[in-house]
């Protein structure tokens, strides 16, 4: 198969230098995940830097190396850059020991973004699971800023439990704000407690209450592969076309320049051909184990 996306804007990076960023604010999101807000240190870098929703940076921690981390902040404010990081590997395990004022390296942005323009004119539904909320949050920001471009904007978020819901501090205020700005929030957790006022169950249980209009909808889906597979199948069952569904894939990336070979998913280099793919480009690949 060929991965082609003539309709998508694709960044063609010229030799991208490593820029130095300073950690300015740390927000603990869940027991193992925090959002690190940072500014690029040099003014020239701040002025030059911009990104599109769904893109990622190679983030460098001194002595440990680089990891690909999606950008979770508002693309309209690229000087306030946020990365939401779960401490889980050699490099990311060093994030919890970062303090305010510490410096890290940032190379990017890389990758194919969410197709905000292709989704315009109809309904936009964003489906996120767990840490998958981070890469779609910039798309949510962008949709809110350009609310008139879309008919309905729906965000569905699933997490294991209330304590695993990202960006969820003052959840009541947040959902209220979203509704006030014309976004329909639908939240659910696999395991709820008595204080949890939203849905209970996996993220696909949110599809019926949302009353999606398959003819008019574009879906951005991001989460663990198994979650994306189930979410996409539910969307397809409701009559959505495979070319209106987009997923964000995750693989090991060490260069972000189609060179190191680690991020291959079949014929695709996820770092450059993705991380966002139109579902029909990768449908066959997602059905295989250990690809």
């Amino acid at each position: 198969m060929n991965v082609v996306a003539p309709d998508l804007h694709r960044e063609r990076a010229e030799a991208v230098p490593m820029r130095i960023a300073v950690v300015r604010r740390i927000v603990q999101e869940t027991p193992d995940t925090a959002t690190y807000w940072m500014n690029l240190r040099r003014r020239a870098d701040r002025l030059a830097y911009s990104f599109a929703p769904g893109q990622f940076n190679m983030v460098y921690v001194f002595g440990a190396g680089e990891v690909p981390i999606s950008i979770s902040s508002d693309p309209a404010r690229p000087t306030c850059l946020a990365h939401t990081v779960r401490a889980t590997g050699r490099v990311t395990n060093l994030f919890p020991s970062l303090s305010l004022g510490d410096e890290i390296g940032v190379r990017g942005p890389f990758g194919r973004p969410w197709p905000m323009r292709e989704a315009a004119g109809g309904d936009l539904v964003i489906v996120a699971g767990g840490l998958g909320f981070a890469p779609v949050r910039p798309a949510l920001y962008a949709a809110m800023r350009n609310r008139a471009h879309y008919r309905r904007v729906i965000i569905m978020v699933g997490a294991r439990g209330p304590q695993h819901m990202l960006f969820a501090r003052r959840l009541g205020t947040w959902t209220h704000t979203l509704r006030a700005r014309g976004v329909e929030p639908h939240l659910t957790v696999d395991i709820a407690d008595d204080a949890w006022p939203y849905g209970h169950g996996v993220v696909t249980t949110l599809f019926d209450p949302a009353h999606l209009d398959p003819r008019m909808t574009t879906a951005f889906v991001c989460g663990p592969e198994i979650m994306m597979r189930f979410a996409v199948h539910e969307l397809l069952e409701r009559g959505m076309g495979t070319h209106r569904i987009y997923v964000s894939m995750e693989r090991n990336m060490q260069c972000a320049a189609r060179m190191c070979g680690h991020c291959q998913l079949g014929p695709a280099f996820v770092c450059a051909d993705g991380p966002v793919f139109r579902y029909d480009e990768v449908a066959e690949l997602l059905e295989e184990e250990e690809l």
């Binding site: 198969m1 060929n2 991965v3 063609r12 990076a13 010229e14 030799a15 991208v16 230098p17 490593m18 820029r19 130095i20 460098y60 001194f62 002595g63 440990a64 190396g65 680089e66 779960r86 889980t88 590997g89 004022g101 510490d102 410096e103 890290i104 390296g105 995750e250 693989r251 090991n252 060490q254 260069c255 320049a257 189609r258 060179m259 190191c260 070979g261 680690h262 291959q264 079949g266 014929p267 280099f269 450059a272 295989e288 184990e289 250990e290 690809l291």
Partner: protein, 372 residues
């Protein structure tokens, strides 16, 4: 077509040395023919031949004094143009502040490769697409590549694991050479691939080849084509491998494969690598080092706290499918040049041509249990 005698080749090499080239050519070491620094034509392995088979490599004495009377050892141009370990740059840390100075272009000398095979020349073209054709061309690779002078040698003694004829890459040099030679008993037929190569052939005292010499060259190369140790049916390899992701042969080969990574090390096109940080004892300087990596290691696919390809079956499938199928989608060329090194240097003698043939023979078969 030109003719160059043994002294003429010596003179050509001497001229390259005089111009400041480091000569890299075949020479005998540790019971194999390796590519290494040579000084002159006398360092070439005169009268040495090879026996290659699955998991088998040994040198034999030839009954002539030919200097290219073998196929190839484990080395190709790769380890010189894409070194197994290479410093990309350094990151400094002082008082909590990081510095990331732009990488300096290495001041490496120019190299002249002597005796690369047609498969090796194709392999370099394949790696060019990887390291120079992407969004961020590798400047250091490009400098090494542009500085290289290449003397290719057409194969008159293909090895027992060679199948370049099937892959369309040999046994005759067609790309990527300044000068190409065909070795005859008393000297070399020589063709220039570049103006620079033509000039050097003149300066080295070559003469027009006689019709008899040219005919002998044709005969030797035609003979080489029919003496390939292996062959591979390449028709629609991408389609074959993509539709057979669940073929039982993957589990079968995984039973034999040790996942040692020898094949990826000797493969002249395998380009996958890691980038690792090497920190000095003071904790002030981190050196970013690029090192060859192998898709046969479990950690190769490490993503978000887990490995994608845990089973050996999945790793072998990744390697073979990448080499013969997805490489074409990615770079517009097969990743296999038919050199057969992966067969020769596999410690258990796994033969890619046999594995692909087994899948083709049972095209469409589906394993009862998939994955791990």
């Amino acid at each position: 077509m030109r003719f160059l005698d043994r002294e003429g080749l010596g003179s050509l090499l001497a001229r390259l040395v005089a111009e400041g080239y480091e000569l890299i050519g075949p020479t005998v070491r540790d019971g194999t023919i390796v590519l290494d620094r040579i000084e002159a034509v006398d360092d070439l392995p005169a009268g040495v031949g090879e026996v290659e088979g699955p998991g088998t490599y040994r040198l034999v004495r030839r009954d002539d004094r030919r200097v290219f009377g073998f196929a190839h050892g484990p080395d190709a141009g790769k380890r010189f143009l894409f070194p197994s370990s290479e410093v990309l740059g350094t990151i400094g840390r002082r008082n909590g502040h990081l510095t990331a100075p732009p990488a300096e272009a290495g001041a490496e000398g120019r190299r002249a490769f002597v005796g690369l095979r047609p498969c090796d020349l194709h392999a370099i073209e394949v790696q060019d697409r990887v390291f120079r054709g992407g969004p961020e061309p590798d400047a250091a690779y490009a400098a090494r590549r542009d500085g290289a002078f290449v003397i290719g040698v057409n194969c008159t003694a293909p090895g027992g694991t060679c199948f370049c004829d099937s892959m369309g890459t040999g046994p005759v040099c067609t790309v990527g050479f300044d000068v190409a030679l065909t070795e005859l008993d008393h000297g070399f037929l020589a063709t220039a691939g570049t103006a620079r190569g033509g000039d050097l052939l003149e300066e080295a005292g070559s003469r027009e080849a006689t019709p008899g010499e040219a005919a002998e060259g044709h005969r030797l190369l035609a003979n080489a084509r029919v003496h390939m140790g292996r062959s591979l049916d390449t028709s629609d390899l991408p389609g074959l491998l993509y539709r057979n992701r669940r073929h039982p042969r993957w589990a079968d080969v995984a039973e034999r494969c040790l996942a040692c990574g020898n094949c990826t090390s000797v493969c002249p096109t395998c380009f996958c690598h890691d980038v690792v940080d090497d920190v000095d004892l003071a904790g002030e300087t981190a050196t970013r080092v690029r090192e060859w990596a192998s898709c046969f290691s479990v950690e190769f696919s490490h993503t978000a706290g887990m490995e994608v390809r845990t089973s050996r079956e999945a790793r072998y499938r990744q390697w073979l499918t990448h080499k013969f199928a997805s490489w074409i989608d990615q770079f517009g060329t097969s990743g296999c040049v038919g050199c057969g090194r992966c067969i020769t240097w596999c410690p258990v003698g796994i033969d890619v041509t046999e594995e692909v043939a087994a899948i083709r023979a049972d095209d469409g078969a589906v394993a009862l249990e998939v994955g791990a």
